[in-house]
């Protein structure tokens, strides 16, 4: 009975065309692979991650990061983080500082708001 079940399963896998590997650790499912599978990512995610890694590294360099630093920074990102960044590195929030174009009356209004503590616009950051 057990043999039949195993054989059936084995055949099923072959039909699915997923192939078999015979490395020493073959068969053991790592925690990261398991989490990726739960997220319905799987093998496709591996391929995308490799592409994203290259893509993000190029973009970091284009945005002024030293190429040596860029390699280490990309290596530190997880696959899902890479996927988040890859397509939108130019639009994601980048905490730092933004130039405020304030003139005339707008400036005065903001100043008042600041003095009353309603806003934090003129706080030095």
């Amino acid at each position: 009975m057990r043999f039949r079940q195993l054989t059936a399963a084995f055949t099923l896998m072959c039909f699915l065309g997923l192939g078999l590997q015979s490395t020493a650790s073959a068969g053991v499912i790592g925690t990261a692979d398991y989490l990726a599978a739960e997220a319905r990512a799987g093998h496709l995610a591996d391929i995308n991650a490799a592409l994203n890694r290259d893509d993000v590294r190029t973009q970091l360099i284009a945005l002024g990061v030293d190429p040596v630093d860029a390699a280490g920074r990309v290596a530190a990102l997880s696959d899902s983080e890479l996927a988040d960044v890859a397509q939108q590195i130019d639009t994601l929030p980048a905490g730092g500082d933004g130039l405020l174009a304030v003139i005339g009356i707008v400036f005065i209004v903001l100043l008042i708001l600041e003095i009353t503590g309603v806003t934090d616009i003129f706080k030095k950051i």
Partner: protein
């Protein structure tokens, strides 16, 4: 009342009231505030490195913002990305856990002694102005929060004001912690992937301690058991791994990856395996098809082993049978 602009009303209000906001000068109070959290005044655009150095410093990692800039600052954006803030904490041997996006959770972390790194939008009139800061205190009497922010060691801000600036980032808050001392509000489902991402940068002893801690804190959590089993397996502790997988399967009898890895650990221990012949397993295959290759490998190994083991009627090793 005519449709007066709000600012005009405010102007009048200011004229007839005191001009100072009393909460701005709130005295430092160790009851509500993590007074020992270090402070690094930021230089231009560099609030990311400064805020990160602050929360890293609180966990005993002494690093200057200038040293973090090459790892986290993005010159072309004149700022730092959220994912790189997380990644940089990992590179310094710490875990960066994104907390549940609620003010109650943030305050619970402060109470537990953990400063919270936050992303705010300090802009106005539709102009975005993203800014990182570290929340270090909350005074329930004055209803204000205290932040290490920009050039202010103690920036005091009313709670409602803070909430407005925080909301723009979908209440993004991060607790940076040692691997074995998770945030007070951490959930197993979030902590396991957080630890996993940091493992390449952690000393082996820290990783071991983290799994020991997780098993103590979430003893019945399937994901923790699975991850701990894998860690034990990877470290060569087969009996420990088998025990973890079995505990997991008591909670979730058709955990396909757990069954699969238990089968592997048993095979490696020289045991015959029927772990994958359970009812319900076939259904799980369909749910987790990406894992099918690994399961097929295991079945292959099990088939080969069944032949040899049945010839010797088992090995008699006690690890083979669940108690």
């Amino acid at each position: 009342m005519p449709d007066w602009p709000k600012w005009l009303l405010l102007l009048i209000a200011v004229a007839i009231s005191a001009c100072t906001a009393p909460w701005r000068t709130l005295a430092e109070d160790p009851r509500y505030e993590l007074t020992t959290v270090p402070f690094f005044p930021q230089t231009i655009h560099q609030c990311g490195p400064a805020a990160l150095a602050t929360v890293l410093g609180a966990t005993g990692i002494a690093v200057e913002p200038e040293a973090l800039a090459p790892e986290v600052y993005l010159p072309g954006r004149r700022g730092s990305l959220q994912v790189e803030m997380l990644a940089t904490a990992r590179r310094h041997g710490r875990l960066a856990y994104v907390i549940e996006p609620r003010i109650e959770t943030l305050l619970a972390e402060i109470s537990a002694g953990n400063p919270v790194l936050v992303l705010q939008d300090l802009g106005a009139l539709g102009i975005r102005r993203w800014h990182y800061a570290a929340v270090v205190g909350f005074d329930p009497v004055s209803d204000v929060l205290v932040l290490r922010s920009g050039k202010d060691r103690r920036h005091v801000v009313r709670r409602e004001r803070f909430l407005r600036t925080w909301q723009a980032s979908d209440n993004w808050g991060v607790v940076v912690s040692r691997a074995d001392t998770p945030p007070a509000t951490a959930a197993a489902s979030g902590y396991v992937p957080t630890l996993l991402a940091a493992e390449p940068y952690l000393p082996a002893a820290d990783i071991d301690a983290a799994y020991t801690m997780m098993l103590a804190r979430w003893p019945a959590d399937p994901l923790v058991r699975f991850a701990a089993g894998n860690h034990a397996y990877g470290s060569g502790h087969l009996a420990e791994a088998i025990n973890d997988y079995r505990t997991l399967l008591k909670v979730d009898p058709v955990h396909i990856a757990g069954l699969n890895n238990l089968a592997n650990a048993l095979l490696d221990s020289g045991c015959a395996v029927d772990a994958l012949a359970k009812p319900g397993v076939q259904k799980s295959w369909l749910i987790l098809l990406p894992l099918a290759t690994a399961v097929a490998d295991t079945l292959d190994k099990a088939l080969a082993a069944t032949t040899s083991v049945s010839a010797t009627e088992g090995t008699g090793d006690s690890v083979c049978t669940a108690e």
